[in-house]
Amino acid sequence: MEATAATPDSLESSSRLWSWITTTDHKRIGILYGATAFVFLLIGGLEAMLIRWQLMKPDNDFVSAETFNELFTMHGTTMIFLALMPLSAAFFNFIIPLQIGARDVAFPRLNAFSYWVFLLGGLFLNASFLFGAAPDAGWFGYANLTSIQYSPGVNIDFWAMGLQILGIASLAAAFNFIATIINMRAPGMKLMRMPVFTWMAFITQFIIVTAFPVITVALVFLMFDRMFGANFYNPNAGGDLLLWQHLFWLFGHPEVYILILPTMGMVSEILPTFSRKPLFGYPVIVYSGILIGTIGWGVWSHHMFASGMGAAADTYFGAASMLIAIPTGVKIFNWIATMWGGKIRFTTPMLFSIAFIMLFTIGGISGVMHASPPTDLQQTDTYFVVAHLHYVLFGGAFMGIFGAIYYWWPKVFGRLLNERLGKLHFWLAFIGLNVTFFPMHLIGMLGMPRRVYTYSAELGVGGMNLAATIGALTLGFSTLVLVYNIWHTAAKGEKAGKNPWGAATLEWAMSSPPPVYNFSVIPEVTSRLPLWTVGGMNEIPDVPPEPIHVPGGSYWPVLAALGLVGFFTGALMHSLWVALAAAAVLVVSVFKWAFEPFEM
């Protein structure tokens, strides 16, 4: 594991498998995250297509009840934990060190470890399909349906252990990014000069650090109940089933801000660039992000209004949930004000970002409708919730992510994605999304519960469900347009210079793709918008600095990840030996890793 001397184009030239497996370069790890998460997005989307095909008409029998239940559980779990979170992580990895002027993240090997744990955790979860035992208790797996009595198969074990594995990946990454952002900013990069994307990512990491331990404990309880007969979720022993709900949503609600804040950051980068105007009210956007992250901790029980918590709790959680509309609204208005008086270019990233504002507002408003406990008694567990969650998650988070893909693609790969195909993708997605999810508001209010594999024609919602299915197929097709665009760009894409969009932040100050050492000289910034300000930063020459050392590769993180996931596999198989052997691999790898020379 010698430190290797850097070559400027090593990102492109060393395509050997081994170098990718042992890589500790934040940019390559970012690419790995992105590619893996994108594949999971296709899988989660395919599951959505099957769900929609089944619901296309009343009393359909395209898939069985059992399969359908597996599909929506895996769809929700995949989209949230395997597609959206890691796609954000891809951008954290690639962009944050560049935006703050660092040579890598604080702990490159820990970073590699996070990725491999994520990958193996995702494979672990999806391996359940091979055994015909995919998780089937919904993405929030309410106890006691998940108890061994009502779910005797290994389906729930796959789910509970898979989520614990993924939690470890997220936590490890969060420690890493917090340390990176706190301590590795270039000279002059004060906290209030950080790009908003880095800021929102920073807040997100704090939410991860505090929220994931809660679900980990909840899942450990579940595993102990299932494996050793513990009583945490056993009402007959005096246990309270609401314990799970409280613990899950104590994690689950902050989780939705883990999903949306990074995208809010991305949009806050894209809008100023294409309006050619600085972000309006930067400090307020930062503070409102902090506020969202904080209040987000105190509203979890709005997912439990039907569980009978009592009037006082309903009052508190209803009002607290509504409060979040205020800091969010401030962001929305500041974004519009950013565009006001600007010089707006309607590039693909800009279109996606504008659509984000429109669609997220719809989802936010239906969120506020949920937040009123009495009326939520009609909405909860119906398609109205499904509409809300897709407007914020697809209309919000994913539209933002798509924008970010188009925006940063040239930085990552040196070529611009095709704009015409991009606009086709955008319009298909924008229309498809509304056709799919808008009718769901009404479907829900007209009486269709969620998570039903079949419904009666007499409910009168068959037509709207057909519309939703058609919309979903459009959405699926739009994603394939993106896939084609990527393939097309790889061969024929227009070469991007350093700063194809004329953006203001530090990552655009170096060649595209960035050299392996990122910055040839230490950047020193004097402005929040270094590239838009005269003297905003020093000159960054394109020649490699002398001498430079960048971290070499290491295979210990991969082995440690294998050991960790092997341990859970042993637990799943109820095989002490497999678990012990894997734990030994983990321990040895961690020791080797700790004592491996890894100098910069």
């Binding site: 301590n183 505090t210 309880f221 613990l247």
Partner: protein, 199 residues
């Protein structure tokens, strides 16, 4: 782990590992916080015995608590020794800390077997479930700490733990003190203030 700073520049002047470690401790607080909150919310709700009042041996655990407290003191001395480059006392105090931690684990192992003999298992009642998972999770943390300290001890014995490596010991110390403080909370909550219906 080494830091990948540009040169040795850091924004805060603090060691990056230390910052990451404080973050880690933050998340550990949430972990134990959740476990303790669950313990409290289930306290006195078991439908069958044995109850804490019947089974907890406070004098015995007070001794092990004292042992763990002393180990924190030894940890402080170990760090001081490493920082001033005193190899002999580095070894002595690191070893003391690790041994005291191990003694605590022995007490816990004894307590657990005792309870199982007296009819309290993880599956017996809510108390059993919450008690074993909470204290077991803490015990696991102590075990990791003991292994960590043992590693430092070996490094020290090989002469590879000079003052320049003091940060390694400081972080291990942070961890150790944290685990100790958590135990004080657990000891107070579980052993000292018992609520709920007596037997």
């Amino acid at each position: 782990m080494s830091t990948a700073a540009i040169g040795h520049y850091t924004s805060t002047g603090q060691d990056t590992r230390k910052i990451a470690f404080w973050t880690f401790i933050g998340s550990e607080c949430m972990l134990f916080g959740t476990l303790i909150a669950t313990y409290l919310s289930y306290e006195g709700k078991s439908v069958v015995g044995p109850t804490p009042q019947e089974i907890l041996n406070i004098p015995l655990t007070s001794v092990s608590t004292f042992v763990l407290l002393m180990s924190s003191l030894a940890m402080v001395l170990a760090l001081a020794a490493v920082m001033r480059g005193d190899t002999r006392y580095s070894k002595v105090w690191l070893a003391t800390t690790a041994v005291l931690g191990a003694v605590f684990l022995v007490f816990q192992a004894f307590e657990f077997t005792q309870f199982v003999d007296e009819g309290l298992k993880i599956s017996t009642n809510l108390f059993g479930s919450t008690f074993f998972v909470l204290t077991g999770c803490h015990g696991l943390h102590v075990l990791v700490g003991v292994i960590w300290l043992a590693t430092l001890l070996i490094m020290s014995a090989r002469g590879k733990l000079g003052p320049e490596k003091a940060m390694n010991v400081e972080i291990a110390g942070l961890y150790w003190h944290f685990v100790d403080v958590v135990w004080i909370v657990i000891f107070t909550v579980v052993y000292l203030i018992q609520r709920g219906p007596a037997a």
